[in-house]
Symmetry: C2
Subunit: 291 residues, 2 copies
């Protein structure tokens, strides 16, 4: 299986590719956007660029952040490729899949579901850690360096970025997150999603997909290289859906280095928050991707 | 009449205000977005900041460019306020107003219509040059300097920016445009709009709203301070809706200084074009606004 290119768009000195492919993991067509920075956008260059993966939040497609997050501004400057995957399989029409905005379609929580009717298709963890990178490096291996990858994300995607990073030491050079769902086993969004995808009774399984739980198992000798931004005007933060303090406390309790949590005065949960700090999150990734 | 603030959003170190007001010029409620840069966003500062007005293209509301154009990135750096007006009155339900996407609602072409049923409400030229700036400087005169204003825009808004600039010498310090409809009397979009708003027979009147015609009357002693970008991958450019070469030829024929036309390789007509060059257009305005 390889990518079909649906659109090629000049942007910020490089090229945005809107790609589609038939996923063997989810059993559905999947859309994904890729930004090739100036160094590799137009010609075959002798040097490859690193990759930053951005995981989106609830309700989003790959297009939302591509259009509104403005990561390509700094990615162009640092010559880093960007990858915006989708938030779930689509078009399955499974029972219950579209009943609410925070569960099912566009709300996969980036786990491999074990519960019916989701177990066969909602396998976003496997998709994001195996099939999708394999495809990208197969199709663009002459331009993108498979050994230099970092990950970031927003809200549900911040949860995805943090957990995939913590579950796969060495796979990513760094991680960052905007307003992540940092302790999903203790918030309504996470409880609903994990009950539906992993089973209401399997709470030990839930912990394997929770950044605050996972960070306790991180190797003390390895710095976390982890940046988290949360807006103080974020209503979901106020409603205790995000719980970044719990992640911070777990990091401290575990005695880990390399964790930065910043509270950004007045910022909300919208893409204006990402576009305001995407320069800094790309720079954070660049520091470790160039190292 | 004063503004009602519908939303206050932290962005790029400053604040985006979503404003609404009842317009005496159009007889309708009008929405407009305002960006206050860091220097004046939160506190009363002793020094005021200049203002850059951005006029949007066909089909857009004030939100499109606010979300996707990323002008606030450079406006934050240069401490310039931004104003994103709407593209027409809305909600009138006039005959023919919603029959096509390139005429009527969201397609005012920024003229004062003389033809029925538009003459009473479609008075965007008066709205943009008189009522709206009066309101802004009345409400935010402690933060924004009424004597330092520049204007820019995209497509139909590029036409608006160029023509309002050329018709009002001294009102704006500089002008720039992305893919402007630069010679509307000679393209299908302009012919349709001017026939509908100004009358099919009144072709001399049309010329008073055409940048290529207007520039011939510009005072030779005053530099144009005019930057125009057009993407070579822009389908509307290829379809001869934009005709920037005609504007360039008229500038040369008139012997005017201070005009820059750039063709940007491969860029299309989308907001990715604006977000790729908004830093440079804000810098162009800043050069004259700070002078």
């Amino acid at each position: 299986m390889s990518f079909e290119t649906k659109a090629t768009i000049a942007a910020s000195g490089g090229t945005i590719l809107k790609l589609s492919h038939q996923s063997t993991t989810t059993g559905t067509p999947m859309n994904v956007n890729l930004y090739l920075p100036p160094a590799v956008a137009t010609s075959s260059s002798s040097s490859k660029v690193p990759l930053l993966i951005y995981l989106s939040g609830l309700t989003c497609t790959p297009d939302n952040c591509t259009e509104k997050g403005f990561f390509q501004h700094a990615a162009s400057k640092h010559n880093i490729a960007l990858l915006w995957p989708d938030t779930s399989p689509r078009g399955l029409n499974l029972p219950g899949e579209k009943d609410s905005w925070d569960f099912g379609e566009a709300a996969s929580f980036y786990v491999d579901a074990t519960q019916e009717p989701f177990a066969k298709n909602y396998r976003m963890e496997s998709y994001l850690t195996r099939e999708l990178p394999d495809l990208v490096f197969s199709a663009y291996g002459d331009k993108i360096d498979a050994s230099r990858v970092s990950i970031t994300g927003h809200s549900m995607g911040g949860h995805g970025a943090l957990t995939l990073y913590l579950k796969n030491p060495g796979a990513y050079k760094s991680v960052s997150a905007f307003a992540p769902i940092a302790n999903p086993v203790n918030c309504p969004w996470g409880e609903k999603a994990f009950a539906g995808y992993l089973g209401a009774e399997n709470k030990e399984e839930w912990k394997k997909h929770d950044a605050t739980e996972l960070v306790r198992g991180w190797d003390k000798k390895t710095p976390l290289n982890m940046l988290v931004d949360v807006g103080t005007g974020d209503n979901f933060y106020k409603q205790k859906q995000l719980l970044p303090e719990n992640l911070e406390a777990a990091v401290k309790e575990a005695g880990l280095d390399g964790f930065t949590l910043r509270f950004q005065e007045g910022y909300d949960h919208s893409y204006f928050f990402m576009s305001s700090f995407s320069d800094e999150h790309v720079a954070h990734a660049a520091k470790f991707l160039k190292a």
